[in-house]
Amino acid sequence: MAKKKALTKDRLVWMYKQMVRIREFEERVKRTFVEHPGVIRGHTHLGDGAEATIVGSLATRDDDDLAMPSYRCHGYPLVLGTSPRKMMAEIYGRKDGLCGGFGGSMHLADPEHHFPGTSGIIGQAITHATGAALTAQVKATGQVIYCFFGDGSTKQGAFFESLNLAAVWNLPIVYILENNHYQAYTHISLEGANYRAGDPLSQKAQAFSIPGVTVDGTDPLRVYAAVGKAADRARSGKGPSLIEAKFYRLSAHGNAITVPPVPTQFPEHEAVEVYGKKKEFADAKKNDPIPRFRAALIRKGVLRNTDAQRIEAEAHAEMEDAVQFALASPKPAGEEAVKYVYA
């Protein structure tokens, strides 16, 4: 049985720091589209709004546990210890990138830091995380796999097949359903049967006779409690659980899809751009998990205002350094492209 990491003062401050680091990183990615047009190619997806869910979940992990999310993948490795310099350089397509410029924003991988990789195809990575849980079980490593995916993924066969198989095989995995209310550009009311019926998405767990709970994904402590319980359950051999963490994605699905020579750019959130729901978006911003957690920690006397400011300044400097490192990194030589096809 794993020792549960106690929520000491230091741990709570650490959680706040990780949330701020993720936000700062994502902000710098987004600003790049304006400040350095053309530097980021392809399609980039941001996790702002998900910080409480990411950090609340990963705060429960043991040192060897793996995190396996979808292509919206920047936040997790930051928490796991991956270098933001290498991440930014990867997103900029540079030689010093985490994957040498072979993967880009959607395909960050850092196995040394318990982050085996991601898939850009919605839902498919759920099967891979389930496979990692098979490895943990067969090799009796004691690991738990943290599998993150969005509400859109739960419409894929990969989701249903994985949860059924994980339940039958009793695999040590926690399925963390990030309900950010938009399936790419489509609002959940247009694609979610449970949502339309007024039911939580965690209800899907009943189809596989496994525990399913819904939590406020903007509160890292509620996420911590629910995911921690599910992780303990998984580690003690009782099998998978489904946690629906509800929050609101604060940026658009991804940068606008442009055709060269038009540089890529980041549009307004779909709520505003597509659906004209300005109030919905304004309310979501008011519910931003980061200032809320900051205020809560100050209120509890865990964090002083000056400490919070120092954490924010440090994160700012860290990500500024990441941007400068990435900008200065050379692009890979074309002939590198034939590497890594086969092991």
């Binding site: 990138g97 991988a109 196995p111 085996p116 195809i121 891979h128 098979l134 490895t135 079980q137 890594y340």
Partner: protein, 326 residues
């Protein structure tokens, strides 16, 4: 030392030997190891031998994730068409993850299935779908045609650090042949000359090797010496052995159970045209399935598929013709 063994038995032997050698090898699939009496289950236990739900996407995707993290899964998929259910995992996940990670990870797994079941399985269960896997960088494809190759290629597939599609031909399952005992690994990308000859090169895979050898026997009686080459793996493809043979014989017949434009033969033809075309003394000929789905009733099925007679007639036609202007 070699032992007479059936093709199907040779595959199982390789799997057992590799599972004994490496505890990271696991096996699962639908409708296998259903009872405690199952011999694989008894040998290797419930952790390493599992029955899977009818969920190709999860079965194949789970293998990808397990391979990423240190296991070497063999997924028994039974029929190659079932892989089509999980085409994303086959084409867009398993072979891409290593590359996209910049070489940080590897995905050693085997997707095993039978194919080409020309025994009344009709349109959806007897096709040759390997064409859609060829040309997917990162993916390897093995198609054994003899019991010995079946063993050696399965051992190599399990030991390979890349995703491998291992396709065994259903019509060869009961064929017997000598199989080396103990460790026997056939490296991928090394074609085998199944019969030496001087007048014409026949390239074939799987069941078509057997048919080509039978055709070569008939041709020999008529004074035509055919060389029969089995590339054994389509990816990597041993074009060198094929081109060397064509340079010797100057004539080429490509036999493939797949439909014409979805055949490995078409790819081999292109390679020979570019790299060995000058050696051809007559235009090459492709003997493939007709461009239809596979029909159910026996005479319909026979009509569509390549046969000894069709191979013999193709060989005679390249023997008779001279390449115009080459």
């Amino acid at each position: 030392m070699a032992r007479e063994m059936m093709y199907g038995e040779a595959i199982a032997t390789a799997m057992i030997e590799e599972m004994q050698r490496d505890s990271n090898v696991v096996l699962y699939g639908q409708n296998l190891a259903m009872t405690e009496r199952d011999p694989m289950l008894r040998k290797f236990g419930k952790q390493r031998v599992r029955i899977a739900p009818i969920s190709e996407t999860a079965e194949m995707g789970v293998a990808v994730g397990a391979a990423l993290t240190g296991l070497r899964p063999i997924v028994e998929l039974w029929m190659s068409e079932f892989m089509l259910v999980a085409f994303d995992e086959l084409i867009n996940e398993a072979p891409r993850l290593r590359y996209m990670s910049g070489g940080q990870v590897k995905v050693p797994l085997v997707f095993k299935a039978g194919y080409g079941f020309a025994a009344g399985w009709a349109g959806q269960h007897s096709n040759c779908v390997y064409h859609s896997m060829m040309g997917i960088p990162g993916l390897k494809i093995a198609l054994p045609s003899t019991p010995a190759d079946a063993k050696g290629l399965m051992a190599a597939a399990i030991r390979d650090d890349n995703p491998v599609v291992y396709l065994h031909h259903y019509m060869l399952t009961l064929d017997k042949g000598p199989v080396p005992e103990g460790e026997f690994v056939i490296p991928f990308g090394v074609g085998d000359i199944k019969r030496e000859g001087t007048d014409v090169t026949i390239v074939a895979t799987g069941w078509m090797v057997k048919k080509s050898l039978a055709a070569a026997e008939l041709l020999a009686k008529q004074g035509i010496s055919a060389e029969v080459i089995d590339p054994r793996t389509l990816a990597p493809l041993d074009t060198k052995t094929i081109i060397k043979s064509v340079q010797k014989t100057g004539r080429l017949v490509l036999v493939d159970q797949a439909t014409r434009h979805a055949s490995a033969a078409a790819i081999i033809a292109a390679e020979v045209a570019e790299h060995g075309g000058k050696a051809l003394r007559a235009p090459l000929k492709m003997v493939t399935a007709l461009d239809t789905s596979i029909p159910f009733s026996e005479p319909l099925e026979n009509f569509v598929l390549p046969s000894e007679e069709k191979i013999v007639s193709a060989v005679k036609s390249v023997m008779a013709r001279q390449a115009a202007g080459v």
